[in-house]
């Protein structure tokens, strides 16, 4: 679905974690990688899996499921690492499956407060609805805010 960018909506990369769909603004997504060896880094929050060697660059990898306090799914053929860039920082997010690139118009996105999920509300900027799908749109800035103690 190639929609022209208009002031009323944006394109999102949609992926699956467990049974739920999530979306990230396509502009923040750099690449999507197949799983690779992750080097563990000590003294990091438990949702940081470690770092990877991404074509010569060291990129930290976050286990999104753990970040959201869900049970991580075992690695499968579809597991991917979504490399995102927020400002100067690059980060890899482990997801169960990358599904689509979708266009979501502003109208199709509902405000967060109407729903209650297991997620901390901070990470969500809204919920999009396309056909019958419910897609949770993530707030990347909040996702990368963490300190050593792992809050």
């Amino acid at each position: 679905m190639v929609e022209a960018k208009d002031a009323q909506g944006k394109q999102y990369v949609v992926f699956r974690l467990g049974n739920e769909d999530y979306a990230l603004d396509i502009h923040s997504v750099t690449t999507i990688e197949k799983p690779m060896i992750v080097a563990r880094v000590p003294r990091t929050p438990h949702f940081i899996k470690g770092v990877i060697n991404l074509r010569g660059e060291i990129v930290p990898v976050m286990e999104l499921s753990i970040r959201f306090n869900l049970t991580p799914a075992p690695e499968s053929e579809e597991t991917r690492i979504v490399i995102v860039k927020v400002g100067e920082a690059s980060l890899g997010l482990v997801v169960d499956e990358v599904e689509d690139v979708l266009y979501l118009s502003k109208d199709s996105i509902e405000n967060v407060s109407n729903y209650s999920t297991d997620l901390s509300m901070d990470f969500i900027t809204g919920v999009g609805k396309v056909n019958d799908r419910v897609i949770t749109i993530l707030n990347l800035e909040k996702l990368i805010e963490f300190n050593e103690s792992g809050s």
Partner: protein
């Protein structure tokens, strides 16, 4: 189809790369000025290759000014005897002799190349003098091992015009060339006497070549060869079986990725240059300055072998010159004053360069009078930069920050060297442009130290690779003192701290596997390896599982998000593509 097209362009690039590298390793370092194929105006051009050059804009201006001031400008070609063995020494004597009566504004080949004996048996200089050419003919001919001296006055050869690579230099600097009475002039000396002429827009030090260690070129060559191997392998993959083909491709691509990363690192290394290149003209400069100021100043330099990227080297020279001048001018006191204070009559300026983790640190320190923060405060209030009551509450550090503001100077005299108040803020801006910071440590009566911290785009260190559990770690070799093997029973407990006895001294033990939370691999070890590390004066013993070996590694930052982690200084990518973390010795040592 798409894959084929992209691999085709890859192959083209690989052969190009190959030719570049093989050309580089067969040619010796090129001289920047083109000498060989110029149009020859005079007969001697055919006979004496080094006499063939054009002056750039700057040199032309200097020559013109000389003529205006009714001085003579000569082109002097000196041919050494083919039996001359120490060409650089002989040339030095000739230069000395020339400088007795003239100032040299150009040399072909460059002074550095002559000093390194990178010339055949002939060189040419252009000099400015009040003497007639007979004086030089006589003087130089009287030097041993000189076969020929050819002198021609400027009018005969000036018609050659200006060369293409001339740049416009600010006129101030040319005045300095001529008012500088006794100091001898060599191309680099002229550039360093710019000092603080305000914003320095020119880059006279642009040496567009790099001296490259042959070893590094060999590594590059090897990597390119590996690229060619992998290319051949990719070409050969043509299996009927789809799965097999994809697998071969994937393997090849993985290998390719590893090589390209290494190649990238190798090329970046090639761009690294020792700071010596910038430092080497400072002793001369300080000697000149101390003469000028009538003070006794000694310059101590260390860490010249520390390496920085080419572009940083180009930019760091001017700020350093300014800081050195400040130390000499404002920091070091006059001989009488120093005697009064009971200090040694010779002031010391220390210039140090060293690598500190992911930074290169350059320190300019002196044992002079230090920075008078009260004067700075007073000046700041005078200039209206701050109100008195707020000023009184500022910390020493904050007061010193004012020195870096534009147009700030506490000097009562504005000298040629400094005190114009345009220097330190330019220094700060330049350093910040390079992504670095400037700090000041100062104590009244004792001296000041300016510390420049520059981040490295590439940091290479020697490291010790070790195994801890199933993971690999790197310990910087510079912090390592020795490595010993002990048995578990040699570890004793001293006031709840595990220690060992190392030749009768007590060394605390740090169990890295615990500190780094390494998952236990369940192996019982009978013999333990301890890496003794140094933190300042104190030693600690890092307990590891086994040694892998010593290796030169490239420090990669962990990135913005993870940079706060205490015990890890960074990461490195090993030959097999895996990541090894670099241990921050200072934070883990006891």
């Amino acid at each position: 189809m798409l894959r084929k097209a992209s691999s085709l362009s890859l192959f083209v690039k690989i052969s190009k790369l190959n030719s570049v590298v093989s050309n580089k390793s067969t040619e010796s370092v090129k001289v920047t000025e083109k000498t060989t194929d110029r149009k020859k105006n005079q007969e001697e051009g055919l006979k004496y290759p080094t006499a063939n050059f054009k002056l750039n804009q700057y040199e032309m201006n200097a020559a013109n000014k000389a003529v205006e001031m009714e001085m003579n400008v000569f082109k002097i070609t000196v041919v050494l005897n083919k039996g001359c063995v120490l060409k650089s020494a002989r040339s030095f004597i000739i230069f000395q002799s020339l400088e007795k009566h003239a100032e040299i504004i150009k040399s072909e080949p460059r002074v550095e190349d002559i000093e390194d004996e990178k010339f055949d048996f002939e060189f040419t200089v252009v000099c400015v003098t009040r003497e007639g050419q007979g004086v030089f003919t006589k003087d130089i001919n009287s030097i041993a091992e000189v076969d020929e001296v050819i002198i021609s006055p400027i009018e005969e050869w000036i018609s050659q015009g200006i060369s293409e690579d001339g740049k416009d230099e600010p006129l101030n600097s040319i005045n300095e060339v001529f008012s500088d009475g006794d100091g001898s002039l060599s191309p680099e000396n002229m550039k360093s006497s710019e000092g603080d002429q305000g914003e320095q827009q020119h880059k006279t030090k642009t040496v567009k070549t790099v001296r490259v260690d042959i070893d590094r070129l060999d590594i590059l060559m090897n990597l390119v060869s590996e690229l060619i191997i992998i290319k051949t392998r990719l070409e050969g993959i043509d299996s009927v079986n789809n799965i097999e083909r994809t697998q071969s491709y994937t393997e090849a691509i993985e290998y390719l990725e590893r090589i390209t990363t290494s190649l990238h690192d190798a090329v970046t290394k090639v761009r690294m240059v020792p700071v010596e290149l910038v430092f080497n003209r400072f002793p001369r400069m300080i000697r000149d300055i101390s003469r000028e100021l009538g003070k006794e100043i000694m310059l101590n330099m260390s860490g010249e072998e520390t390496e920085l990227d080419r572009t940083v080297i180009d930019e760091i020279g001017d700020p350093l010159i300014h800081l050195l001048r400040n130390s000499a001018d404002h920091g070091i006191e006059s001989i009488e004053k120093r005697k009064e204070l009971g200090k040694p009559t010779a002031g010391h300026i220390d210039l140090r360069a060293y690598q500190d983790g992911n930074n290169v640190v350059i320190e300019v320190g002196d044992d002079g009078q230090g920075i008078n923060t009260d004067r700075v405060k007073k000046k700041a209030i005078e200039k209206g930069l701050i109100k008195k009551d707020i000023a009184d509450n500022l910390s020493k550090k904050e007061i010193i920050e004012f020195l870096f503001k534009p147009s700030f100077s506490t000097s009562d005299k504005v000298t040629d060297l400094s005190g114009r108040g345009v220097g330190l803020d330019v220094v700060k801006t330049k350093i910040e442009k390079l992504g670095g910071v400037v700090e000041v440590e100062t104590e009244i009566g004792k001296g000041s130290k300016f510390i420049i911290r520059l981040p490295l785009t590439l940091a290479i260190i020697q490291a010790l690779l070790v195994n801890i559990g199933k993971e690999k770690y790197a310990i910087p070799l510079s912090s390592t003192k020795e490595i010993i093997r002990i048995t578990p029973d040699q570890i004793k407990l001293l006031q709840k701290q595990e220690i060992i006895l190392l030749r009768n001294s007590v060394v605390p033990i740090v169990r890295l596997n615990k500190v780094l939370e390494v998952p236990d691999d369940g192996n019982e070890r009978k013999a333990l390896t301890v890496v003794i590390v140094r933190k300042g004066d104190k030693l600690s013993g890092f307990l590891v599982d086994s040694l892998i070996g010593q290796q030169e590694i490239v420090i990669k930052s962990l990135g913005v998000l993870l940079s706060g982690i205490k015990c890890i200084a960074g990461a490195t990518i090993l030959g097999d593509g895996n990541v090894a973390l670099i241990i921050d010795v200072n934070s883990l040592a006891i």
